[in-house]
């Protein structure tokens, strides 16, 4: 069925279809319509949505609900991400499946509240203490707001980790023609919560290999469940033993980083003989696609890599795309954040950052001109 929807509408639909039945949030432009959409939608599916006193309570309630077995969602923008920061660390520490939508707006601080940017890209990855990994996905269209929200829930369950959908105003509040039925048909069935067997002792953070992910047992279910923000062992008992702590740190890191290829989603459009790679994500990927079409129409050559997974960095895809090119152009609606990640993999190739943070889209002309593509 063809509809004319905003990205935020598609997030709501995607979350419901993923089995999300708990939402807590606080109003903030440009994410508010996810909150209001959830308030309307949740009663219809027997779920629950609540507006909280602040963003700290929003993510806190989601973590509590998630540990009772619910798939939980919260949504905010940059200032709210700042308030989520500490609890994102808690969700990592407690291995809580959770999906967070960050409909970014131009910042810092209050910034231009009704205008877009991708200014939180590194903040989403590095914005909590401890530096342990989580997953960040970036949609470029209304359709991808649906499919990547579905994917975000699947990854959150698969890895018991917070997954952030890096949307922004130019995607979340842009209405476009979309067929969500077709998008739904193209999605794999949503991953159910892996639940620990009721007739066996429950070890909340059990692993044999460091990258194993234990099933959960819901608070209120057959087992007594322990959960803690403090450094703990596999049974969630506090520990100060450096050897145990090292093991747990390795577990929290490797359950994500060892599976970077599994988590990586991207589109690769190579151009034979091209010496320049255009690497883009989010709404700017649309400008990059347009720029590539214009360059090729003009007889030029350029390869295109569009990332849907930003973190863990899809190193395999980026390295493969780098083979054979001498330089990379990275357009972004910030001052050059993801270009830093690309430089780490570029092996001395020129990495040209095309940036814009004046609330306007990076245009295809910007990409071509400042990227030196023609």
């Amino acid at each position: 069925m063809i509809e004319f929807l905003e990205g935020n509408d598609a997030v709501v639909r995607g979350a419901l279809d993923a089995g999300c039945r708990f939402f807590a949030g606080y109003p903030i432009t440009p994410a508010t319509s996810i909150l209001t959409g959830m308030m309307r939608a949740m009663p219809e599916v027997g779920g629950l949505a609540v507006q909280c006193e602040d963003e700290i309570a929003s993510i806190g309630m989601c973590i509590g609900a998630a540990m009772t077995g619910q798939k939980a969602l919260t949504a905010t923008s940059g200032p709210g991400m700042s308030l989520y920061s500490e609890n994102i660390g808690l969700a990592i520490m407690g291995e809580t499946p959770l999906v967070i939508v960050n409909v970014q707006r131009q910042g810092p601080a209050t910034g231009s509240a009704t205008k877009g940017a991708d200014g939180d890209i590194l903040f989403m990855r590095w914005g909590t203490s401890g530096g342990l990994p989580l997953i960040v996905l970036s949609p470029e269209s209304v359709g991808e707001c649906y499919t990547l929200t579905r994917k975000a829930f699947d990854l959150a369950e698969r890895f018991r980790v917070p997954v952030i959908l890096a949307s922004q105003k130019e995607v979340g509040l842009t209405r476009e023609r979309v067929d969500l039925d077709a998008a739904r048909d193209a999605c794999a069935p949503s991953r159910p919560r892996a639940v620990a067997p009721a007739d066996q002792p429950y070890v909340p953070h059990a692993f044999d290999k460091p990258d194993d992910v234990a099933p959960l047992s819901p608070i209120g279910g057959p087992h007594l469940v322990r959960y803690t923000t403090s450094m703990h062992d596999e049974r969630a008992w506090l520990t100060g033993d450096p050897a145990v702590i090292a093991r747990m740190m390795e577990h929290l890191r490797r359950k994500i980083d060892d599976h970077a290829d599994e988590i990586a989603r991207f589109e690769w459009a190579p151009d034979e003989g091209a010496t320049t790679l255009l690497l883009a994500y989010g709404v700017t990927a649309r400008s990059a696609r347009d720029a590539v079409a214009r360059v090729r129409a003009a007889g030029g050559r350029v390869s295109l890599l569009v990332l849907k997974t930003l973190f863990p960095v899809p190193e395999g895809a980026i390295r493969a795309a780098l083979a054979g090119v001498s330089r990379v152009v990275v357009p972004e609606m910030n001052l050059g954040q993801y270009a830093r990640e690309v430089r780490l993999l570029a092996d001395g190739r020129e990495v040209r950052s095309v940036t814009r943070m004046d609330t306007e889209l990076v245009s295809p002309e910007d990409v071509i001109r400042e990227g030196g593509l023609l």
């Binding site: 509809e3 700290i56 130019e170 322990r226 002309e365």
Partner: protein, 458 residues
Amino acid sequence: MTPLSKSDAGAGPGPLSYLDEASLPLPFCPGCGHAKVTRAIDEALVILGRPRERVVVVTDIGCVGLTDRHFDTNAFHGLHGRSITYASGIKLADPGLTVLVVMGDGGAGIGGAHLLAAARRNIGICVVVANNFNYGMTGGQHSCTTPPGGVTATCHLGNLEAPLDLMGTLRPSKPGFLARTSVFADDVPALIARGLATDGFSVVDIWDLCVAYYAGQNTLTRNTIGDLMTDLDMPAGVHFEGARPEFARAWRDLYHPAETADDEGMCLLPLDAGLAPVAESALKKRTGILIAGAAGQKIRSLATILGAGAIMSGLHATQKDDYPITVLTGHSAAEVLISPEPIVYTGIEIPDVVLILSEEGRARVARKLAVLPPESRVYVEAGLGPVETPARVIPLGLKGAAQSVGRLAIGAVGVGTILAAEGIYPLEAFEAAARRLQKQKVADTNIAGLRAGAALAR
């Protein structure tokens, strides 16, 4: 979502103790009141008799936050001051659980907003505050409940801040149960049990001694703690009992239809009818339309119908809105991009068509008007006077044409003019979109306006 289960209603005889004997002794300093608080909680749980699996002890940071690991129940140890938020999420998701929060005066201070919100909601959790007037875990700094003149590591000449009266602060919210006592009183287990049994939000404020830091420096003892209550006019006793509906149940009662099945499957929402094509368009190229009007002219919904009509003509469309934070004043503008091809880049660098409906709208797009190429068309309400732009300006009596339809119809008149004059897509597609997406009365007005505008263009 967990339904309310029958097994939650009646409680048989429960365990003789909810403490994990293997975890004892408790880790508190000799003489610290937190051990008594922990024992009192255990006694209260025994009085209540819930199955261990249906009890959750939620704590946060501070010495008393060490209690949860000594309970043989579900245990959740979270961030400083945020225990009420986790407990609320747990209770909302599974209202049949007995959810107990144990926090200190530090947690009550940093999490004050959560205390207030939980009391206003009347969410069914019981908060025990082990209130010992300072931050013991970090070395005895002053807290939100340190008495005036109290000496701590951060007010060594005496505290200048007034102490927070938890009972007095929360009472106006009319939660389920509020009580204050001291750790030396006999009623502590009974009061906690009453809090736990309350079908609503409850707080038991237990005044307590920090023997490591606060008590010694301030000569606070078992014998003087009652005098402190008198001096501060914060007496012991039950301070409030309310009967407002508990939030987690009340929310379900109000919002959930009687027969809601949670099938965890596909979306059950009644979806809009789709925008399948009803007409064909001869549009050959991507066309950017900028509508610039004023608040109240229904620009955003009109732009949505304009885009939906394009889709119902087999075209592609995007829409972006531009309006100030205060939505009932100032400009309201929308960009609608219509194309026979899928739209990749959603920006409109140079609008092909501009529709100006008000002075506010004109001012908003003045910068863009100034740089339009001569081939762009600017349709403007004639009453607004001359427009400074290199583009072709087409003044029209939009306001006059709208008068016969309704005050709010000027936008629809303008869109009718554009669709007819530019031949973007047939009027019938716009009409079908309005009928599909808008309430009948609104659709009627927009369609009448559209037709008046089309007549104007001819």
